[in-house]
């Protein structure tokens, strides 16, 4: 496996970014749900602080990932896809990229509008995205939550499609995003 993408397979960098972001998103969902259930206190503060730091990490990785995608060949979708499947795949992937940016950005806006400045893992402080504004905070909170449900839905489609390609259509769509499996015929 090469670091760069080829016309038939995702390279090492693209795979690493993909799976690292998968792990971080799962972490984010867990942290957010633990934090929301906790009573006001240091532990809630700590959980949300980690959630914000991981969110900013995902935002940075999303930028890198998009740049990497634009400077590398993209393995094409299988030729035998029906037009609607092709469109659905395009929309799903576009939505995933969009959400990779929209989730952290709405989260960052939400905390800035609340008046809580953010740091990255207590190491350095980031500038406030927007000035303190209660109305904007409420709007961003609603949006951030709504987008999280949108993300679950799109991830479900993405995973379902990957599994269908692997187990039903038996093509290499999933395998080409996996490090060990070799390209089948």
């Amino acid at each position: 496996m090469t670091l760069r993408n080829t016309t038939s397979r995702w390279g090492g960098i693209a795979q690493f970014l993909h799976w690292l972001i998968v792990a971080l998103i799962i972490t984010q969902v867990i942290l957010a749900n633990i934090a929301m259930d906790l009573p006001i206190g240091v532990r809630k503060l700590a959980m949300f602080a980690r959630h914000k730091s991981f969110g900013l990490t995902i935002l940075a990785l999303a930028v890198i990932r998009l740049l990497w995608r634009w400077t590398n060949p993209t393995p094409p979708l299988p030729n035998d896809l029906k037009p609607y499947e092709r469109t659905l795949a395009r929309i799903t992937h576009a939505a995933l990229y969009l959400l990779l940016f929209a989730m952290p950005l709405t989260g960052w806006m939400m905390t800035s509008a609340r008046g809580f400045p953010v740091s990255w893992f207590n190491l350095f402080q980031l500038p406030d995205f927007v000035p303190k504004n209660q109305g904007l905070y409420d709007a961003m909170k609603t949006t951030h939550h709504a987008l999280s449900y949108a993300l679950y839905a799109v991830v479900f489609l993405h995973v379902a499609a990957a599994l269908k390609h692997h187990f039903v259509l038996r093509d290499d769509v999933l395998r080409r995003m996996l490090p060990t499996a070799r390209k089948s015929g």
Partner: protein, 199 residues
């Protein structure tokens, strides 16, 4: 009965001496300054989750007694109404007022009373007793001071900042004793306009 001139002189000298002694024993007239709340600020800065956050107090009557234009030898008294704290977030303010942090129900006031004010390299330094959350500790408070005449009144401007360690005053019980997510150091800064009473 008649007094000899000599006796009269003796009485006069005695009287004069007495008045001088009396004058010396009486303290020099002190100037009493009180706070102009509209043009004063008492703020605090703290680290929350790795980021700088700040708040201020709305009510903090101040009394400053000065013997001259200089604060040296004077007396400073600051009373902070803890309920008046404001960090711009109601949820956080309520938490700060709660039992694990300032516990304002039990300790509604914080107070600094100077025992000595002396000149320092950077301005002045007041040494005194600082009470927060029922804990009294000796505290050094650095400040600069200048006076100005404004509309026939003497006005004093007192500014500076002092770093306090919140845990020394018990501000932070239970989980809040950790300084990982809420820093132990709190920078208190003050910019006060003090107006002389009378005239």
């Amino acid at each position: 009965m008649s007094l000899t001139p000599r006796a009269m002189l003796g009485t006069a000298v005695l009287a004069l001496t007495f008045f001088q002694l009396a004058a010396a024993a009486e303290p020099a007239a002190a100037t009493h300054y009180t706070l102009d709340p509209a043009k004063s600020a008492l703020e605090f800065q703290f680290v929350q989750a790795g980021a700088q956050n700040k708040g201020h107090f709305g009510k903090f009557p101040v009394s400053l007694e000065l013997l001259s234009d200089s604060p040296a030898g004077g007396k400073l008294d600051v009373l902070v109404q803890m309920t008046s704290l404001d960090t711009g977030d109601k949820e956080r303010d309520d938490t700060l007022r709660g039992p694990d942090l300032f516990d304002v129900a039990k300790f509604p006031q914080a107070r600094f009373t100077s025992t000595q004010i002396s000149k320092s390299a950077a301005g002045y330094e007041a040494v005194g007793k600082l009470t927060i959350r029922g804990v009294t500790r000796e505290q050094r408070v650095a400040f600069t001071f200048r006076t100005a005449q404004e509309q026939g009144r003497t006005v004093g401007y007192l500014t500076g900042k002092t770093t306090l360690k919140r845990l020394e005053f018990g501000v932070g019980q239970g989980d809040w004793k950790s300084t990982e997510w809420v820093g132990g150091d709190v920078v208190v800064s003050y910019s006060l306009r003090l107006v002389s009473a009378a005239r």
